[in-house]
C-alpha cells in the first residue's frame, strides 16, 4: 500500500482543512480538534460546495454554502439531508500527514 506524505500536521490548522489537488478533483484533508486526520472529496453532495472551507466541529464539517453537515468519518450527510462524499484513507505518523494513494491510482486506471 503506498502512502504519500502531504506535509506536516501543523500545516493544517486544528479544526481546519487544506485542499489537495488531484486529477479527480480536489480532496479536502481535515484535522479535527483531537488531531485526527480525515480525507474526503472537497465537493458537497448538495450543490458542490467546497467542504474544505467549512467549519469543523467534532468529526464533522458544515458546508459553507448551505450548511449541510457532513460526517468526516463516513462522508455521509447528517440529519435530514442525504447524500455521501467519497472518503479516503489518511493518517498521521511522526507528525506527518499521509494519504493513501491507491484510490487515486485505481481511479486513474478505471
Amino acid at each position: 500500500m503506498s502512502w504519500l506524505d502531504l506535509g506536516a500536521l501543523d500545516d493544517i490548522p486544528a479544526r481546519g482543512a487544506r485542499k489537495v489537488k488531484t486529477a479527480m478533483g480536489c480532496v479536502a484533508v481535515f484535522r479535527t480538534a483531537d488531531d485526527a486526520i480525515f480525507a474526503i472529496a472537497d465537493r458537497c453532495p448538495h450543490k458542490g460546495g467546497p467542504l474544505s472551507e467549512g467549519i469543523v466541529h467534532g468529526h464533522g464539517v458544515t458546508c459553507p454554502l448551505h450548511n449541510w453537515v457532513i460526517s468526516l468519518e463516513t462522508g455521509e450527510a447528517q440529519g435530514a439531508d442525504s447524500g455521501r462524499v467519497p472518503t479516503y484513507k489518511a493518517r498521521v505518523e511522526d507528525g506527518r500527514v499521509l494519504l493513501e494513494m491507491a484510490a487515486f491510482q485505481r481511479a486513474e486506471v478505471a
Binding site: 504519500l4 502531504l6 506535509g7 500545516d11 493544517i12 490548522p13 486544528a14 479544526r15 481546519g16 487544506r18 485542499k19 489537495v20 489537488k21 488531484t22 486529477a23 479527480m24 480536489c26 484533508v29 480538534a33 483531537d34 450543490k47 458542490g48 460546495g49 467546497p50 472551507e53 467549512g54 467549519i55 469543523v56 466541529h57 467534532g58 458544515t62 459553507p64 454554502l65 450548511n67 453537515v69 500527514v97 494513494m101 487515486f104 491510482q105 481511479a107 486513474e108
Partner: protein, 811 residues
Amino acid sequence: MTQRLVIIGAGMASGRVIEHLVEDAPDAFDITLFNAEPRGNYNRIMLSPVLSGEKTYADIVTHDDDFYARHNVTCRFGEHVIRIDPEMKVVEGQNGHVPYDKLVIATGSAPFIIPVPGKDLPGVITYRDLDDTNAMIDAAAKGGKAVVIGGGLLGLEAAAGLRERGMDVTVLHLMGHLMERQLDPAAGFLLKQDLERRGITVKTQASTKAILGETRAEAVLLESGEVLDADLVVMAVGIRPETRLATDAGLSVARGIEISAQMMTSDPDIFAVGECVEFDGQLFGLVAPLYDQAKVLAKSLMAEPAAFVPRELSTKLKVTGCDLFSAGDFAEGPNREDIVFRDPGRGVYKRLVIEDDRLVGAVFYGDTSDANWFMGLITSAEDISDSRDTLIFGPAFQGGAPVDPLAAVAALPDEAEICGCNGICKGQIVKAIEGGATDLGAVRAQTKASGSCGTCTGLVEQVLAVTLGDAFQMPAAQPMCGCTDLTHEDVRRLIKSQELKSMPAVWQAGAWKTPDGCHVCRPALNFYLIADWPLDYKDDPQSRFINERKHANIQKDGTFSVVPRMWGGITNPRELRAIADAAEKYNVPTVKVTGGQRIDLLGVKGEDLPAIWADLNKAGLVSGHAYSKGLRTVKTCVGTDHCRFGTQDSTGLGIKLEQALWGSWTPHKVKLAVSGCPRNCAEATCKDVGVICVDSGYQIGVGGAAGMDVKETERLADVPTEAEAIEITVAFVQLYRENAKYLDRPYKWLAKVGLDWVRARVVEDLSERKRLVEAFELSQSIYRKDPWAEHAKTKAERYQPLADLTKEAAE
C-alpha cells in the same frame, strides 16, 4: 366627603397604599405626598440592577408624573417634613404647612453609619436611594478601589455592582461568614467563593476602626492594623427605622413606630407603614410584608376591617450568577434537626431545618429551583414526616417516582404566594387568567406578579400552564443551538458574570453537549468573547464562517469576491486604475458597483486572494469587509461640497465615521449612511445608523433596515456638532456589540431592548457614553487592522493547496 390625606415619604410602601386608594376609593381622599427625595415612587429594590448597569432609573419608576396628575395627588417632592402637630392636625414641610384629616407616616429607614473617625469624609457613601446609586456609578467611572463595609444583602449587591463597573472591590464583614442572618456558614462559604471568583475580595471578621484621609476618603483602617486603600467607601451595615418625626410628635415609638394590626399609631388619625414601623416587636426590612401592610392600611383608611399578619420571609440575592435562597429560621436549637445535601462539584448546597416534623427553615445555594415549594412547606407548616427521606430532593421526588413538575404547582393552594416582591398569590393569578390573561405579559400587567425582581417568572409561567392546559404555549426560550440548552442571552450573561475568557471555558460552564460546538454556536461565541474580552481573548479563525476566515465573499461556484474599502464612497483615478489593473491581471470576470458605493471584483480564485490583495494594498486600498459581521459601508451624498441643498459636509462625516468604525466586529453586519439634507440622497433612513444633516446639526436615526425586512430608522438624538454625532454613533455601536444576540441586526435588537433603554445609555448618560466609546476604542486598538495586508504577508501559504497530486496520479 373628601378627606385630606397627607403621606410622608414616597417609598415602596406608600406607593402601594396610594395604588389601593385610587383604585378602590378614587374620590374619598385628597392626597398630598411629601418626599425628601426629589422624585416620586420608584422600585427601590431594583437599585442594584441600576448600579450594575442592567437597568436604568427610567426602568424602575413605578409612578410617573402622569400617574400623580391623573389621580390628583399633590406632590411635594424634594421637601422634607420637619414636624407633625397632632393637636392642630398639620404637617410642617420645609415650604409650608398642610392640614390633614388622616396622616400616613411612611418614612422608611435610614442607613446606619458606624461611628468611626472619618465617617463624614467625602467619598463615604451609604446605599439607600437613587442619589447614592448615582454617586457610586460616578465614582466607579473613575475606576480605582472600593471598600464595601458590610457583607449583607445590600453590601454584596453594592460590591457586585461596583465590580461590574470595573472597580477593584473589597468587602469587609464583621461576622465569620457573609449574610449571617440569612445563611449558615457553609452556604456563606460558597457565596464567598463565588464572589471571589468574580474578582471581589472578601474579608470576614474584619472590624473597621477608622476611615483615613485628609480631604476625602483614601483608606480604611481595620482593628487588626491592616490598611486598605480606597477611592470609595460604601457603608452598608444596616438600617434603623426613620422615627424622628413620630418621636417628636409624641407618638409611641419603640425601635420603630408602634402600630396596631390596623396600622394605626397611638394617635387614631395617624397611621404608619413600611420599614419605619414596629409590629408586635418585629421590624420589617423586605418589601413583601410592606405590601401586606399597604393593603391593610388602605382598608383601614377606607374604614373597612382588615388586620396585618406578619409572615415568613424569604431572601434572594440579586447578583447575577449567585443562586441563593434562604427562608425561615435556621438557627440551631435543642429540638431542631438538619438535613444537608452537598454537591461540591456543582457548588450546590441545600439545608433544611426541621422542628417537630415541620419545616421551619431552608437555605439553598447553587440550585434554587425548588425554593418556592419549600417556602410553601414552611408557610403551611404541614407535617412532613412521611416525605422526610426524600424531602431534600424536592417536589419531583415525592411519592417515590419523579412526578410532573407542574403537579407541584397544581397542588398549591390559592393562598400560596407566587410573587414575593409584590405579594401576589396563586389565586390572584388564576383569577387574572380566567379573566382573559393568556400570557406572561398580560398576567404581569394585571397582577404585577413577576414584575419586580423577576425570579418568580418560571413559577408564574407554570401557573399559566396549569390553568390554561393545552391552550398555553410555554414561550420556549430558544437555545443557541443543539449543543446547549442556554439561549444566546444566557450565554452572554454567563460569559460576563463568570468572566469566561475562552471557548472551552464557555463549553464547560454552559454544559455543552458536544466536544467543540458547531457552526452555529462557535461563530457566536467567538464574537461574544472578542466583544467582551478584547485584551484577553484571542480570535479563533476556525470558528469563523469562511468569508471572515478568508476575508472575501464566497460565491456559489466556490470563487470569491473582493471589495476594497472606498471611504465614504470616495475614490480617485489612481485607485480606479489599481482596481482595473487587478481585475485584468487576475481575470476577474465581473466588476460591479455595489449598493453601498463600492466596487466589487467577482469571481476571484481562492489561491489568488493573497496576491490580488497585495496588489490592491500597494495602491493604498484595504479590505472593505464586505463579507463581515462588522462595519460594511458608510454611504454618503455629496453634501455642501457640491450640492446646492447640502447643509453640512456629509461626505466628510461619512469618511470620519467609517474611519472610526472600520475593522470592528459586530453581532451582524452594520451599514451606515449620511445625507446632507432631508432630501436624503444617501438613503440614510433605512440603515443601521443613518445621519441626516440639517441646518441646526445632525439627526441620528438607528434601527433601519432594507433587507428581508424594510424598516425606517427611529430618531435616537439630534446633536449640534459633528464630534457629538460621531461619539453617539460609536457608543451606539458598542452598546450593540456588548448586548445584542449574534446575528441580530440592530433593528431586531432594538425591538427587544427598546429605543428608550438605548437612548438612556448612549445619549443621556454621559458617563456611560464615555465608557462605551472607550471600550470600543480599546477593542479597536487590537482588532482594527487590515486583514488583507496581514494575510497577504504572513498567511498566504494557507491559501494554496497542501499538495498537488495531479502529476503523481498521472504517472
